[in-house]
Amino acid sequence: MVERLLLVEDDPRLAEMLSEYLGQAGFHITVAALGAAALERLSGAQFDAIVLDLMLPDMDGLDLCREVRAKSDTPVLMLTGRGDAVDRIVGLELGADDYLPKPFQPRELLARLRAILRRRVRGQITAERSLHFGRLEIDTAARAVRLDGVQCDLTGYQFDLLLALAEKAGRVLSRDLLMDLVKGEHLEAFDRSIDVHMSRIRAAIEDDPKKPRRVITVRGAGYVFAKAQD
């Protein structure tokens, strides 16, 4: 099934390039340059997701997002060139499913789009149980980890370890605390040290396992899962 996307972007060249890029990835793209045109398109056809620029010449992207939300539950991914965090939060509060700051990594846009579409298929309940960090998605319902939408190879214990870290992203967790957090019926915890599991996790989810950017070692303190992974 070809998924249909509505791209609301006022910059014609960016819209054209995005259409090409997302088209190559197998999406069917409809472009609207103005908020009014977007609303018109939305009333005429069914879309699987909307990619929405926050700043449009004729209306505020947030207002458009609110109107879309009032009519349907089509997932919305917001693109924003504005740097302030407040707008991002407001965007999500108004019902945007995700946001990306410009200039975004095209691969990240693709990963996030696929993620919100997957969530839509599975329903809203599981949506809240999925953690997103840049291009990385930790799906707690399916107990799967995806990088750019591609599943990573992790054992159950390693998944629990990663989840424990990710749920406390931005906090340094000592090895003892980590052991406590994931202790359970996993036997493999006893025969290998936590550091070995960490290097396995890194091999699976890091772009360059030698220069980890997601699971970081803090000498003498423990591990920290990076909160910002742009």
Partner: protein
């Protein structure tokens, strides 16, 4: 600081006290005008009456003349307190028959006034003759009046200065960055006009800042959309494209993005006094994340939790690391420590360091040391470091370490 209402009130009370004291002194030096009136009246009465040893009938006749037209009872007593003559109802015996003291003192007892004549006789009347205890009564009345004014003035003074205080709170609130702060306009006097002017000024400031914010947001959007285009273009280049060229382009994009961020952030921190979006942060974890972005950055320290804006503090750390990468030599060392409730971040590297004469200069925006090896960078990095530290109530400076090398120290209050 003595509060304004208290000063007003104290001035009022002081002037009341001064007024009472002046009146009492004046009363004293004029010999008590009301007592004098009483004495004169007593003397007149005695002069009109026949002497004490004249027959009772004569005294009765004299008393009758004295009481003509007086709508009340009058009785004359001998020095022993026995009535000699009476007009109308006979009045009570004087309360203190053998009173010794000033003659012609007036007494008031049981609805009657008594005058002690110089020869010991007493004249009593059921209507007031003069003032009894005039000095005490006058002083008491004065004191009561002063007290009444003092009490009544308090709420009035409080009300007037209360408006000033509310106005002051409004100004302070605006200064603290609450641009929507307005004050209520009460009354129609100068204070009310001041409140109106304040509201007008606050409105203009809010508009100005909103305009500035909108401008920044638009500039950010306009600058980043083409960057997004370039990034997409790089991605769309087919595999045939030179990977070195591709990564070079990626780096250029990142640098431009950085530059846009830096300039916009500097102008935002300068102009907009928004409240910080603070949250509970682990400085060590934040430093670990930022150090992971740089090869050869070594981190040590222990967990220190503070309240702060994660985005700004990331920028602070990144700018320090970037500064070391550009102008220093690896490895860059970062230490996170706790010191008297503050979080301190110390950053140093293996490079030549900063000469002592430049310790302050390098924090100036767009400052470039004359001998800088590397002229890249925005010239805003360290200025932003200090601005961000200040916004968190801390400071950033360059100092010497024990081994004589220079280092950057950022202190952030918990």
């Amino acid at each position: 600081m003595l509060r304004l209402y208290l000063r007003f009130y104290l001035a009022l009370v002081a002037s009341l006290v001064l007024f009472v004291l002046a009146t009492v002194t004046l009363w004293h030096f004029t010999g008590g005008p009301m007592e004098q009136t009483g004495i004169t009246l007593g003397r007149l009465v005695q002069n009109v009456l026949p002497p004490a040893d004249s027959p009772a009938a004569e005294q009765q006749e004299a008393l009758r003349r004295l009481a003509t037209g007086l709508h009340g009872d009058v009785t004359l007593f001998d020095p022993e307190g026995m009535p000699i003559a009476a007009i109308g109802r006979s009045l009570h015996t004087p309360p203190d028959v053998h009173h010794e003291g000033m003659p012609f003192t007036l007494w008031s007892r049981e609805h009657a006034s008594y005058v002690h004549l110089a020869d010991g006789r007493w004249l009593a009347a059921s209507v007031p003759i003069g003032y009894s205890h005039p000095r005490f009564m006058f002083h008491a009345a004065l004191a009561l009046l002063a007290l009444a004014i003092g009490i009544a003035a308090y709420p009035i003074v409080r009300q007037i200065t209360g408006r000033l205080e509310r106005l002051q709170r409004g100004v302070e609130s605006l200064g603290a960055g609450h641009l929507t702060a307005r004050v209520a306009v009460e009354g129609r006097d100068e204070v009310a006009r001041l409140a109106e002017s304040f509201n007008r000024a606050a409105g203009q400031i809010e508009q100005l800042v909103q305009g500035h914010k909108a401008l920044l947001a638009n500039a950010s959007h306009e600058l980043r959309t083409p960057l997004a285009r370039i990034r997409l273009a790089v991605e769309l280049m087919k595999a045939s494209a030179d990977p070195k060229l591709k990564s070079g382009l990626e780096q250029d994009i990142a640098e431009l993005d950085w530059l846009v961020d830096e300039i916009l952030l500097a102008s935002r921190l300068d102009a907009v006094t928004d409240a910080l979006a603070t949250e509970e942060l682990d400085v060590l974890a934040l430093a670990a994340e930022e150090c992971a972005r740089y090869d050869g950055a070594q981190l040590e320290g222990k967990v220190v939790n503070i309240r702060g804006d994660a985005r700004l503090l990331r920028r602070l750390l990144r700018n320090l690391l970037e500064n070391a990468r550009r102008h220093g030599a690896p490895p860059t060392q970062v230490r996170v420590a706790q010191d008297a409730g503050n979080a301190t971040i110390t950053v140093w590297d293996n490079g030549p360091g900063v000469p002592q004469t430049e310790f302050e200069n390098i924090f100036r925006p767009f400052y470039r040391p004359s001998d800088a090896r590397d002229r890249t960078g925005t010239g805003l990095g360290l200025a932003l470091v200090r601005q961000i530290a200040h916004r968190h109530g801390g400071d950033a400076r360059c100092t010497l370490m024990a081994d004589g090398r220079s280092c950057f120290v950022v202190t952030l209050p918990a």
